[in-house]
């Protein structure tokens, strides 16, 4: 253990989260860059084109979220099992390999960018599949790192002889998560077949295995932040797994509407997608119950509020913004427009970014206040919280209006012709909202800067902190 009373596993978890938060900053910067390129397409043209900035923006997001999830599991694993993680040295080696690989891939994206359509490009520059563009060598590296992580988790649970409900769900989910990534490496010249399996990675990660993974992390976070009894969070987790997998797995069909798959996917995809918001609405009740039952008493206020942001953000992003465009009759016109970007921004922030930020605050509390004598709080996190949410809602609103312009003017009225495309791009709903999006993007970025400053300073001055009541906090 370290001098702060941390397990080596928790130290590793912290490293993962720190690198993740740095990548979160890179994601924001590349997001601002490509948002400006929408307004001024000549900016950095030929040097750092929009398509490269977009790859970096999205891949930074995918990788930072994954790093945060892995960090969270390494953090909670010794707490759950009551022992140091088995194979921690291997875990640390895998961490350094992963960070080095991410750095090399980013440099290749920045300085080499593209290559001819051959095997060398596929292996060393860009695999060519949207969102998971990492070249094949990095793909294999990611699989190895995930397998090491999986080994660490399973071996630790076996060595501890203590399999909790949460760890059981987590292990099954991690096996699915690692296995599904392999589907993204399957290459075929038939674009329909290729897209069919590519969606296994994208959809079944984001709307199934990631949801369950953050459900497990949230269960562990709630037990810490609100002292919610284990049986309650485990019962809730089982229900969530049932509902999320029940609707999310075949909800995959909403990506199969227009890629050349058989027509029955319209019915399957539409049916399960229409049901996908049901568990998200149900989760609102649990968030309110926990908040009310505890009268917001907690050991860590920023973590608690990011947990609330998770429950509501997931509902708005995935539920409201998702349902709006999920029926095939609508999706025929709306898919691939800025509506999808609007939905994606809100859903990823709500479901996943908020989870990682809650865990980051839990980690930093243990580092700054190892004996847990204080209620963790500051003024700055509130500013960061508000600015990031206002920035995000503004971006999402702007993209939504732009998406309506594309759906109606370019697709429904203009029939997706070239002139229709230009009409939609020049329409005020599209042209002006790109400025709004950039402005709110800056607000979000200021929120991010404040968040980092807060994480670097919160809890250092103990006089600013409220001592933990003797009666304790947590579940009433």
């Amino acid at each position: 253990m370290t001098k702060q009373g941390l397990y080596e596993s928790q130290k590793l978890g912290l490293w993962y989260m720190i690198v993740g938060l740095i990548l979160f900053g890179a994601q924001n910067l590349f997001g601002l860059l490509i948002a400006y390129q929408y307004i001024n397409p000549d900016f950095l043209f030929g040097l750092l084109d929009f398509n490269i900035g977009r790859i970096l923006h999205i891949n930074a997001m995918v990788v930072w979220l994954l790093l945060g999830f892995i960090g969270a599991v390494y953090w909670f694993l010794p707490i759950e099992t009551g022992r140091e993680t088995v194979g921690i040295k291997l875990g640390k080696l895998a961490f350094f390999i992963l960070v080095a690989a991410v750095a090399v891939v980013v440099l290749v994206y920045l300085f080499i960018q593209i290559g001819p359509g051959n095997q060398i490009s596929l292996w060393f520059i860009n695999e060519g599949r949207e969102y998971i563009e990492a070249p094949r060598w990095a793909d294999i590296g990611i699989v190895v790192v995930v397998l090491v992580f999986l080994y660490n988790v399973i071996a630790t649970v076996i060595a501890s002889k203590r399999l909790t409900g949460i760890m059981g769900v987590l292990i099954v989910d991690l096996v699915a998560l690692a296995g599904l990534y392999l589907a993204g490496m399957f290459y075929t010249a038939n674009i329909s077949v290729d897209q069919y399996f590519w969606w296994w990675v994208i959809h079944l990660w984001v709307e199934a295995t990631w949801e369950v993974l953050i459900g497990s992390i949230m269960a562990l976070a709630l037990m810490y932040v609100l002292k919610t009894p284990r049986k309650i969070v485990e019962g809730w987790l089982y229900l969530e797994v049932f509902l999320v997998f029940g609707t999310g797995i075949l909800g995959l069909g909403h990506h199969y509407f227009w890629i050349g798959t058989p027509e029955y996917w319209l019915g399957i995809g539409g049916f399960f997608s229409a049901l996908e918001p049901l568990p998200l609405v149900a989760m609102i009740i649990h968030a309110i119950y926990d908040a009310g039952a505890n009268k917001l008493r907690t050991v860590n206020r920023p973590a608690l509020f990011w947990i609330f942001a998770q429950a509501f953000g997931n509902f708005f992003g995935a539920g409201v913004w998702g349902f709006m465009q999920t029926l095939p009759q609508i999706n025929m016109y709306s898919h691939g427009t800025q509506l999808a970007a609007s939905h994606g921004h809100m859903a990823f922030f709500g479901a996943y970014v908020a989870t990682n930020l809650a865990v980051a605050y839990i980690m930093i509390q243990k580092v700054r206040d190892p004996e847990e004598k204080y209620v963790f709080d500051s003024k700055l996190w509130k500013w960061a919280y508000v600015l990031m949410i206002v920035g995000l809602v503004g971006m999402v609103g702007a993209l939504m209006v732009a998406g309506f312009a594309q759906t109606e003017i370019e697709r429904a009225v203009g029939g997706s012709g070239w002139q229709a495309y230009i009409d939609a791009q020049l329409h005020p709903w599209m042209a002006e909202t790109m400025w709004w999006r950039l402005g709110f993007g800056f607000i979000f970025f200021i929120g991010y800067i404040l968040l980092i400053i807060d994480l670097l300073t919160i809890g250092k001055n103990k006089e600013e902190l409220e001592p933990l009541p003797e009666t304790g906090v947590g579940h009433a």
Binding site: P229, I285, A293, F323, Q325, T407
Partner: protein, 108 residues
């Protein structure tokens, strides 16, 4: 016989779907708030959103654009949203009460 779906109709269906889920969330939020704070006014207001949610669903299905299959799905969802707050409240409250009593008995 189905009517042709015009561009404006498309926008109406999209917005109806958006507000259907948004109102379902507002209904759930206010119902939960009313129960936890024991203030019936929140619960009463929540029912306005329950009705609004159902009305938004009707907006989606009343014009004759969608096949019966899709209409049934939307109506099933709209009906489910009416009962989710009560059902989930019962599940959450019952499980919390049960396990908290178990914990207390263990302490004794």
């Amino acid at each position: 016989m189905h009517n042709l779906l015009t561009a404006n109709d498309l926008l109406v269906i999209m917005l109806s779907g958006f507000f259907m889920i948004l109102f379902a969330g507002a209904y759930t939020l206010l119902y939960g708030l009313g129960k936890i704070t024991k203030k019936s006014k929140y619960i009463k207001i929540s029912y306005i959103f329950a009705v609004a949610q159902f009305a938004a669903a009707l907006m989606m299905i009343t014009p004759n654009f969608l096949d019966p299959f899709w209409k049934y799905i939307i109506m099933f969802s709209a009906c489910a949203y009416l009962f989710i707050p009560q059902g989930m409240w019962w599940v959450v409250h019952t499980s919390h009460t049960y396990w908290e009593n178990q914990e207390k008995n263990k302490d004794i």
